[in-house]
């Protein structure tokens, strides 16, 4: 069993305005709960950005994988600013581009193709985690 401290932190942007933020969130949750529960854990991005010492201690100097839904890269920037080591920046749009013309759902709910893309992104995150551990 890997200790909580040594687990890779997976932090999505969870952007709420567009479907890509939801895809980032769902892919991160699928990874930490279904694909790599022993090796990874989520950390609240909203908590990270408060600058609270407790969450700083949790990610400072730790391996983190960020998952961003748009080019503003809020998760990656905020995690770096808080001292996390971003070993991989996952961009949802990189995988979305491989599915040109498809519909993915809305910011509230994914449809069938949205779920497929989420699974692909989650696999990429899991592959990276397995390289680390």
């Amino acid at each position: 069993m890997i200790s909580m401290d040594s687990k890779v932190k997976v932090i999505p942007c969870s952007g709420i305005g567009k479907v890509y933020g939801l895809m980032a969130r769902e892919a991160a949750l699928k990874t930490v709960h279904e694909l790599c529960p022993e090796k990874s854990e989520p950390v609240c991005l909203a908590w990270i950005v408060t600058g609270d010492q407790e969450v700083k201690d949790k990610i400072e100097g730790r391996d983190c994988i960020t998952v961003d839904g748009c080019p503003k890269m809020c998760a990656s920037k905020n995690v770096s600013d808080a001292g996390g080591i971003v070993v991989e920046e996952i961009k949802v749009l990189d995988t979305v581009k491989e599915h040109k013309g498809e519909k993915f759902g809305s910011a509230s709910q994914l449809d069938g193709c949205g779920e497929i893309v989420v699974s692909e992104i989650a696999s990429k995150i899991a592959d990276r985690i397995n390289q680390e551990k």
Binding site: I16, R25, K30, P42, V43, C44, W47, T50, K72, Q109
Partner: protein, 150 residues
């Protein structure tokens, strides 16, 4: 209708169920409320210095929706844009034990019980929106730039 706006900022916390409920209740209000135009502000972008988001929150009323007692969305919003018009702590509605349940659910795994929680929290958000002064919806009640004199 377009000029009657209210911002709703959800923590969308990824570590516990309360974050998921906060996000889905916020989305429900955005998708279904018709009296005023609710606008969601992306919290990470807002905190990363998104100018449009911060300016919106300085001019229009904002309700924050937090999944747990840490109230990250409320604290961060007040730090950058001044006092919020209302705040919802999901843990006070669904109970702390439920809110802090670390088995965050994905949307596809929601149960009827989760849906009831979402409905209750969404109802609370709507109630708070209803308590805001009508002038504030149009941006007339400018409540300070939030710069704290700097």
């Amino acid at each position: 209708m377009a000029e009657f706006k209210v911002g709703v900022i959800s923590c969308s916390g990824e570590e516990c169920l309360g974050g998921t409920i906060s996000r889905l209740a916020t989305r429900k209000v955005l998708d279904e409320l018709k009296m005023v135009e609710p606008v969601t502000l992306c919290l990470p972008l807002y905190l990363a210095g998104g100018k449009e988001e911060r300016n919106f929150a300085r001019v229009y009323p904002v309700i924050t929706v937090d999944g747990c007692h840490k109230c990250c969305a409320k604290r961060s919003t007040e730090k950058y844009s001044g006092k919020v018009s209302g705040s919802v702590d999901v843990s006070e509605i669904i109970g702390e034990e439920n809110a802090l349940d670390r088995k965050t659910v994905r949307n596809k795994d929601l149960t009827a019980e989760h849906t009831r929680m979402i409905d209750r929290v969404a109802g609370e958000i709507v109630k708070m929106i209803g308590n805001i002064s009508p002038d504030a919806y149009s941006g007339k009640t400018f409540h300070g730039c939030g710069c704290n004199g700097e």
